[in-house]
């Protein structure tokens, strides 16, 4: 009964804390569910739809990992986290992995004791201005008023950028993206700056998106990716290679449509290794042979996930840009599966 659990929890705490460190993968398998931390809602990246189903670009990573480990893409318990609770939730073991558009930085990786398992979206800070302003480059923004979220790295990046270009600006501090949208539309600032993906998503909601332009300058590096706790390398490997499998699948042309056909065997040995018809990659990870096949089948390869959630066909309309495969001039470059 619940009361017993409540009273016993204190005494059990010490014992179970030892048991919890046995290995995240074993915990996940024993539980039959993956606890995946996501945002409480970010357009295109993670949000529940009208039926309460979580959808989005980050959500797809969680589902792929669940499919690889548990064989069921829906065996995910999505734990919504805010910017303030995300790291404690991961560190305390409440969630097994965090896929919450989190920037990979030195201090988070080293000081906070997390392990970033790759990058699923290369973002960067950009600028949005009304078309009427007649500006075509951020370097022409001398003397502009800029809406900026306080307490974020964007604030520091902005100061650096304007100082290094020897131009001045007047900051209009705001708290949330929603507030920024209203301020910007009301004309309280000439420029709104935040991550480029956020700007695109914001612009997509405007009544007349065509009246606003994103400037070409990207003034910071924001590699966003999933992360796990430091020290559990088996689990970190699973998440890392699931993400790599999604990226490689796109590179090698494995899609959710042709995956059944391809898993019958192809003459490309790497495809065969990914799909488990050749080699023992799954066994090395502590999973079965078809782990990555299931991961790709869950929501498609990286390109399909991108197109479905944030790509140019969606209202958010992000171009691949840096997030194209390395063969197409982007930064996505998965290590080989061999």
């Amino acid at each position: 009964m619940k009361k017993t659990v409540f009273l016993g929890a204190f005494t059990v705490a010490g014992l179970a804390a030892v048991a919890a460190s046995a290995g995240t993968m074993d915990d996940v398998k024993a539980r039959g569910k993956l606890n995946c931390g996501v945002t409480t809602g970010l357009v295109g990246f993670a949000a529940p739809d009208a039926n309460g189903e979580w959808k989005g670009f980050d959500v797809a990573v969680c589902r792929a990992v669940a499919a690889a480990v548990l064989g069921d893409a829906s065996a995910v318990e999505f734990v919504p986290t805010t910017g303030k609770t995300r790291f404690t939730a991961l560190a305390s073991g409440e969630i097994d992995m965090l896929a919450r558009n989190t920037t990979w930085t030195f201090s988070r990786d080293v000081d906070l004791k997390f392990e970033f398992t790759g990058v699923n979206y290369y973002d960067g800070q950009g600028f949005m201005v009304p078309k009427d302003l007649g500006v075509s480059s951020a370097k022409e923004l001398d003397g502009a008023t800029v809406c900026i979220q306080t307490g974020t790295t964007t604030e520091l990046n902005l100061a650096d950028f304007f100082r290094s270009n020897n131009i001045s600006y007047e900051p209009v501090p705001i708290e949330t993206n929603a507030e920024a949208q209203q301020q910007y539309l009301a004309g309280a600032c000439d420029v709104y700056t935040t991550d480029a993906s956020g700007l695109a998503a914001t612009r997509a909601t405007f009544e007349n998106p065509g009246d606003h332009v994103l400037l070409p300058e990207i003034i910071s590096k924001e590699p966003l990716g999933p992360l796990v706790r430091h020290g559990d390398h088996e689990w970190g490997d699973v998440v890392r290679w699931t993400l790599n499998a999604l990226i490689s699948a796109e590179e090698l042309g494995i899609t959710s449509a042709n995956i059944g056909e391809m898993s019958a065997g192809t003459n490309n040995p790497e495809i065969n290794r990914i799909l488990g018809t050749e080699g023992t990659l799954g066994e090395m990870l502590g999973l079965d042979a078809e782990w990555s096949k299931r991961a790709v089948a869950a929501g498609g390869n990286y390109g399909e996930i991108f197109a479905q959630n944030i790509g140019e066909e969606t209202p958010i309309g992000l171009a691949r840009g840096l997030n194209a495969q390395w063969t197409e001039g982007g930064l996505l470059y998965s290590p080989p599966f061999r």
């Binding site: 009964m1 619940k2 009361k3 017993t4 659990v5 409540f6 016993g8 929890a9 059990v12 705490a13 014992l15 179970a16 804390a17 048991a19 919890a20 915990d27 539980r31 945002t39 409480t40 809602g41 970010l42 357009v43 295109g44 993670a46 949000a47 529940p48 739809d49 009208a50 309460g52 734990v79 919504p80 986290t81 805010t82 303030k84 609770t85 404690t88 939730a89 560190a91 305390s92 073991g93 409440e94 929603a178 949208q181 209203q182 998503a201 914001t202 997509a204 909601t205 405007f206 009544e207 969606t314 209202p315 958010i316």
Partner: protein
């Protein structure tokens, strides 16, 4: 001359003149307008200014409300329907209505359960709020928390039944042992309840909730305005008795009890609620093992209850302090012991004085329940800020959603405030 004498008195009234209506200026609408709106130059100017202001306000909001679109599947569709006219997009409210009320994870086929719990809540609250109703109805009130728990969380009915039995056992022991000594009754009741709960915990089979008639719903799946109502109601009803105990404890002559109360009140009052909530959601997770944490809802209830009981304790202490010393002495001279004196003489008067303060805390607490959105619980505000505004369909709808949230909170808070005013009038014993 004779004519002159007869005519020297020009007119002699031989009856009352018929009543004529008062001058147009002194009657009806005109008088009211003159007295209330145009009674002087300053007031006339103010009236005109106010009229202009109201006109401007209505001119800008009325078309927005009247042109409102109630049926659409996304903001873009709304804008298409409006085709450039100003108008609200209330469609977000209709499309996401279940999410606003129940959260996004509560099972759809179980929506009737919170609804029934809500109706029962009104019935259970009635005898508490309106004490002219028959006292027997209080039985419903006593059983209600267990029924509501079972309805909303579902699962096996044995859990609420055992919880209820524990409370009944505690109450029974208190009745028996409490006659002679309050302390014996009090601690005996706690022990009895714990024994029953423990025994019940062993008796309930493992996994009894899995195939129960009402599917079990974990706390994480609760949300929407339902969560605000649940938190508000639970915390107000728990913090009132706790606050009374703390207020009395602070006045106690026993040093241990006095200092525990003082430290508790001063500590909790000195910490922002949001800090306590972060402790509840984030820090406690460090101390519990990942699998057997205390339910998040319970953690939040404990924190909010602690917080508001400290405030209520201080409000009631004000009420106690306002009573003249003679009341305490009168109770003593009648030979009443401490519990009797408090229950029969001191508290009824002190509580009456404290009503406005308690209601103030209750209204504040109800609105503070929206703070749980920052610890990623999806109450009404959390639903709006998170899932709804982050969906590709509805990103960018602000006024409609926040206006709705403000409206539903206003309705409840205004209701509470009206009730308290009625209560004050009803309890007024001073003669004018």
């Amino acid at each position: 001359m004779a004519d002159q004498t007869t005519n020297s008195v020009a007119f002699v009234a031989d009856g009352n003149i018929p009543e004529s209506p008062p001058p147009a200026n002194e009657t009806g609408v005109v008088k009211w307008l003159r007295d209330n709106l145009f009674s002087g130059v300053t007031n006339s100017i103010l009236t005109i200014l106010a009229l202009v202001l109201i006109y401007l306000l209505l001119k800008n909001t009325l078309p927005w409300i009247l042109n409102g679109v109630w049926n659409a599947n996304s903001l873009a569709e709304c804008r298409e329907i409006l085709a450039g006219r100003t108008g609200a997009c209330f469609a977000v409210l209709t499309e996401r209505w279940p999410q606003l009320i129940y959260g996004f994870k509560y099972p759809v086929d179980a929506y009737w359960r919170p609804n029934v719990a809500f109706v029962l809540m009104l019935i259970a609250l009635a005898p508490v709020l309106f004490f002219d109703l028959p006292r027997k109805l209080l039985i419903i009130t006593a059983v209600y928390p267990f029924v509501a728990f079972w309805l909303i969380w579902g699962g096996t009915i044995l859990v609420p039944v055992v919880a209820l039995l524990g409370c009944v056992a505690g109450g029974f022991v208190f009745q028996k042992a409490g006659k002679n000594s309050f302390a014996a009754g009090f601690f005996g009741a706690i022990v009895a309840a714990l024994v029953v709960w423990q025994a019940g915990g062993w008796l309930i089979p493992e996994g009894a909730s899995e195939n129960a008639w009402l599917t079990a719903v974990p706390s994480r799946d609760l949300g929407g305005y339902m969560l605000n109502m649940m938190l508000g109601l639970t915390c107000v009803s728990l913090s009132l008795p706790l606050g009374i105990a703390l207020a009395l404890g602070r006045q106690s002559r026993m040093p241990l009890i006095k200092w525990i109360s003082v430290v508790f009140i001063e500590f909790v009052r000195g910490v922002p609620l949001i800090t306590l909530l972060f402790v509840a959601s984030v820090m406690l997770a460090y101390f519990f093992p990942p699998e057997s944490t205390v339910d998040l809802f319970l953690r939040v209830v404990i924190m909010i209850t602690m917080f508001s009981s400290a405030y209520i304790a201080e409000v009631i202490r004000g009420g106690l302090a306002a009573l003249p010393r003679g009341q305490y002495e009168a109770a003593d001279s009648l030979g009443l012991d401490y519990p009797q004196a408090m229950r029969l003489i001191i508290l009824p008067q002190a509580m009456k004085i404290s009503i406005p303060g308690i209601v103030n805390v209750a209204v504040g607490l109800f609105k503070d329940t929206t703070l749980v959105s920052v610890i990623s619980m999806f109450d009404l505000v959390g639903m709006i800020r998170g899932p709804i505004l982050a969906s590709t369909e509805w990103n960018g709808v602000y006024w409609e959603l926040w206006g709705f949230a403000a409206l539903v909170f206003f309705v409840v808070c205004y209701g509470i405030s009206q009730y308290s005013q009625w209560l004050e009038r009803r309890l007024a014993t001073d003669h004018h």
